[in-house]
């Protein structure tokens, strides 16, 4: 049977429990004897800890333990970096609990373990913490000034400068006919998940086994870290993935609580659960995005881009967390995006500040660079009196140049190239579907009190990071097949898409895939998880390998049973057939299991174009999205329904970052946006007019599925395209947005500044 589940809009299996409220998230777990942990967090952005006195607290009724750095022999362990683990970063890594200094509001100082969350929260007030406040570093400028150091022994607040380079940028600038230099900033926002983080740990003293629930994203890496920190063999720890209420890059990295809660469980000998509340979440989960750049572009008179040069400064927060360097690195390497720019030199410096540390958030570095670059391109078009679309079309990497090398990056060099695509094709498709030719006539027009603006931009989206993923298939007693996969689920529908892939590969109906078991460390020998839009490409390709191995095992076993050669065995949906009428059922081989793996050194590059039509009420700075279209080519599509869901979902997150979401701090490093009343998220009424077109014109040549990572494309263009549309609408006032988010106040101020200037 030749199936075609791959490519079909199969309704999701996981929805059957989610729509009934039967998902099981970590806070739904309630084992006997459960205790609850709450965390005392620093209210100072920067300070020296003089003393912590919890002597009164431990005597309170219902309090089982108060844990501080002093309870950890040898001091609090540090959390190692998972990606770009350069030795230069090590001094900036975060310890699991504050020891001698606090460096951001929200840093853990003590853990109270109590019979209930309420009792624990009451007990927090009884801990006496004496902190000598130090002047805070609240932005990159203060960090660079260097008179306030977060890590005194380092002598400076700059953790690293990445440089991406190709050609000879300086020579190209010297010879160029046209040069423009600009400064841009992106705001601080983050991958807020609707389910706050949570960890539950159970310690079995008799067997020395630790079970940790609430794992997500990268459970195998986190198990290695935890084993090292706890002094346990890796195989005595099981990381259990429950249902996960959103990931977006932020959830599932190793955070302080991922050590503190297992430690508390071993310390008390009882199961311990910690569930983050929203205020904690806003100050404890990885922040992202805040960067500023001074960037220059050199062009010929016809708009051909000759060179790009710049220096970005990234506000890292107080520590280098597990994947903290990724966005800063990507800002250097992806400034050119989908455009052919022969000479590039972009630096990106990482500045430590007294804020919540940063990590990846969907489209790390790409959302930022697309805003910088696409803004710059519209300014170039205006200067050179070129059509904005034509300028882009002229400079997009031509299909004939694929695979196309990315600029070299240092340190931590990794050669990478764009795998495939025709960027002009998606741009043209976008313009056509959007009705650009007609709508562009509205540019700058004032209709019923609102100015209309249009913009279009192009993007690339890296995905499918290696090195490896593992999958396993097992034949059940009833002849159905169970799928086990190292990939993790963060809401993207892996139970459905892997069942589609497995059913097609095994050539059996989808209802004979009994289940897709994912994310927990018990299922496969080694797994890598879900990050960098890799699950489908890596896990799916591993699944194809496992299928091949399972078929080989079946052939060998059947050949033995039938007394023939393995090559004489035919496997079909109906069973296993040998020569001379011999046959068997799948159930006859129950228990047979085969692993498969997929290794990858290169990335896939999804690509596309976005177009937006906005209106702006110049009197109040209000922006409305009248129409927004995202066209994405993401290689082979497994499930068009879920891909579209990824595009629209990530687009709305991008619009949130472009217009609403803003983590604000004051000069003392105090977080001013500690609730969802202050930190604005997109709601159902904000962006009703969004469209997505997903195509599969260019399957990836570097994996057997032909798939590409597709979880991030929607978010990447949003900031640049919306800002360009606003500039287009408010051209009469000379408005040129250079900073995100475009809040009503910021838009109004630009309009007023424009009025005064004219």
């Amino acid at each position: 049977m030749r199936n075609s589940f791959v490519g079909s809009p199969v309704e999701r299996r996981e929805d059957l429990r989610f729509v009934r409220g039967r998902g099981q998230y970590v806070d739904d777990l309630n084992p006997d004897g459960l205790l609850h942990a709450v965390i005392l967090r620093s209210s100072f952005a920067h300070g020296r800890i003089r003393s912590i006195d919890a002597s009164a607290t431990v005597k309170l009724a219902g309090v089982h333990a108060v844990i501080t750095a002093r309870d950890m022999p040898g001091g609090p362990p540090r959390i190692p970096m998972r990606l770009q683990p350069l030795p230069e970063f090590m001094p900036f890594e975060q310890g699991v609990i504050a020891d001698t200094k606090v460096r951001y509001v929200g840093e853990p100082i003590a853990v109270v373990v109590a019979t209930s969350v309420a009792v624990g929260e009451d007990a927090l007030d009884h801990i006496v913490v004496d902190i000598e406040p130090l002047p805070a570093v609240s932005d990159c400028e203060t960090s660079a000034a260097g008179d306030r150091l977060l890590f005194e022994q380092q002598g400076a607040n700059c953790a690293m400068t990445f440089t991406a380079e190709c050609g000879d940028a300086d020579a190209a600038f010297k010879a160029a006919a046209y040069v423009r230099r600009e400064k841009f900033r992106t705001g601080r926002h983050f991958g807020l998940t609707l389910e706050p983080r949570g960890v539950m740990a159970e310690w079995d003293a008799a067997t020395g086994r630790l079970t940790v629930s609430g794992a997500a994203k990268v459970p195998f890496f986190n198990r290695r870290v935890l084993a090292e920190q706890m002094g346990l063999p890796e195989d005595s720890i099981a990381m259990i993935e429950n249902d996960v209420g959103g990931g977006f890059g932020a959830r599932g990295e190793f955070y302080p609580e991922d050590f503190l809660i297992p430690f508390a469980a071993r310390y008390t000998g009882r199961p311990v659960k910690w569930i983050e509340d929203r205020r904690e979440n806003l100050m404890a989960m990885n922040h992202a995005r805040q960067a500023q750049v001074e960037v220059e572009i050199a062009c010929a008179h016809d708009g051909t881009i000759l060179a790009l040069r710049g220096h970005a400064h990234v506000d890292m927060g107080a520590y280098m967390r597990t994947n903290g360097a990724v966005a800063a690195r990507n800002i250097a390497q992806f400034m050119a995006g989908p455009y052919r720019i022969p000479n590039i030199r972009v630096k990106s410096s990482l500045w430590m500040t007294n804020k919540t540390p940063v990590g990846t958030y969907r489209g790390p570095g790409r959302f930022e660079t697309d805003f910088f670059r696409e803004r710059l391109l519209d300014m170039v078009a205006k200067d050179l009196r070129l059509d904005r679309v034509e300028l882009r079309r002229r400079n997009l990497i031509p299909a004939s140049h694929m695979p196309y090398p990315l600029p070299a990056i240092a340190p931590f060099p990794a050669s990478d190239e764009i795998d495939s695509g025709d960027y002009r094709a998606t741009l043209d498709r976008c313009l056509e579907e959007f009705g650009w030719a007609d709508k562009a006539k509205l540019a700058g027009k004032l209709i019923d009190g609102r100015f209309h603006g249009l913009a279009v931009g192009c993007f690339i989206e890296g995905g499918a990071a290696g090195p490896k993923e593992t999958a396993r298939l097992e034949i059940n007693p009833d002849g159905s097949v169970a799928v086990f996969i190292g990939s993790s689920a963060v809401g993207q529908g892996v139970e459905t898409v892997f069942a589609q892939i497995a059913a097609d590969a095994l050539e059996i109906p989808m209802d004979r895939i009994s289940g897709v078991h994912h994310g927990s460390t018990a299922y496969v020998s080694d797994g890598y998880g879900a990050y960098h839009s890799r699950s489908v490409v890596m896990g799916g390709s591993a699944l194809l390998d496992a299928t091949k191995n399972l078929h080989n095992l079946i052939r060998t076993a059947a050949a033995k049973r039938f007394g023939c050669l393995p090559s004489e065995i035919k496997i079909s949906e109906d069973g296993i057939v040998g020569p001379h009428g011999s046959s068997a059922r799948f159930a006859d081989f129950a228990g047979l299991t085969a692993e498969g793996a997929f290794l990858n050194k290169k990335h896939t590059y999804t690509f596309g174009a976005h177009a937006a039509h906005v209106t702006v009420d110049a009197r109040i700075g209000r922006i409305e999205i009248i129409d927004y279209l995202a066209v994405t080519d993401c290689g082979r599509i497994i499930n068009p329904m879920t891909v579209r869901g990824q595009v629209i979902g990530s687009l709305v997150q991008g619009l949130g970052g472009a217009l609403l979401e803003d983590l604000k701090y004051d000069k003392d490093g105090q977080l001013l946006t500690g609730s969802l009343a202050d930190y604005l998220l997109p709601s159902a009424s904000d962006f009703p007019n969004l469209r997505a077109v997903v195509t599969e014109m260019f399957p990836s040549p570097i994996n057997p599925l032909g798939a590409k990572g597709a979880g991030e494309g929607g978010i990447i263009s949003a900031g640049g395209v919306v800002a360009n549309a606003v500039a287009n609408a408010l051209g009469a006032f000379g408005v040129e947005p250079r900073e995100l988010p475009l809040t009503p106040q910021r838009v109004w101020e630009m309009v007023e500044a424009g009025r005064l200037a004219t």
Binding site: L16, R20, G23, L192, L194, S675, L676, L690
Partner: protein
């Protein structure tokens, strides 16, 4: 203190502290974990339940305030046999990704459609604007709710 109310058609009596919120009571005392907690300050809507027929935030109500009330949670809007038309519509329109906001979305939409089975897209958006979804971008949720309207109309008005 003792507290009695009706949940999903069953009369229950539980012992709660006066300061316990209704959502904590439902989740941790009655083990009805389909109702989720996303913010505890009434913004995200993940804890939405039906209290005497009205969609309310269970994180903003003390458990003791529910004395004598009739409560319906997502568990009460579900059965083992088949998805309800509203649930099936959510699945058909891919209005679910991580599933965390889903129970609150469905209870809110159920309350809306029960009162206003002819509501238009703007009305659906207005009512759902009190429920945060971080995954879907809302387009598919609004489509799912609109598509489920016919199941809430009285039989005679159906074609």
């Amino acid at each position: 203190m003792p507290l009695s109310f009706e949940v999903n058609g069953k009369q229950v009596t539980v012992e709660v502290e006066p300061r316990m919120t209704l959502v904590d009571c439902l989740r941790h005392k009655l083990r009805l974990t389909g109702t989720h907690v996303g913010c505890e300050h009434g913004v995200c809507g993940a804890c939405t339940i039906l209290l005497d027929g009205e969609a309310v935030r269970a994180c903003l109500i003390l458990a003791v305030q529910a004395e004598g009330c009739k409560i319906v949670t997502i568990e009460g809007l579900s059965n083992d046999e088949a998805l309800t038309p509203l649930q099936a519509s959510f699945r058909r329109h891919h209005a679910v990704q991580c599933g965390f906001c889903t129970p609150g979305m469905i209870t809110t939409a159920h309350a809306l459609l029960s009162e206003e089975p002819d509501c238009d897209a703007d009305r659906v958006r207005e009512v759902l604007s009190g429920n945060i979804c971080r995954c879907t971008g809302y387009i598919s949720i609004v489509e799912a709710v609109l598509d489920a309207r016919s199941a809430y109309r009285p039989p005679e008005s159906q074609p």
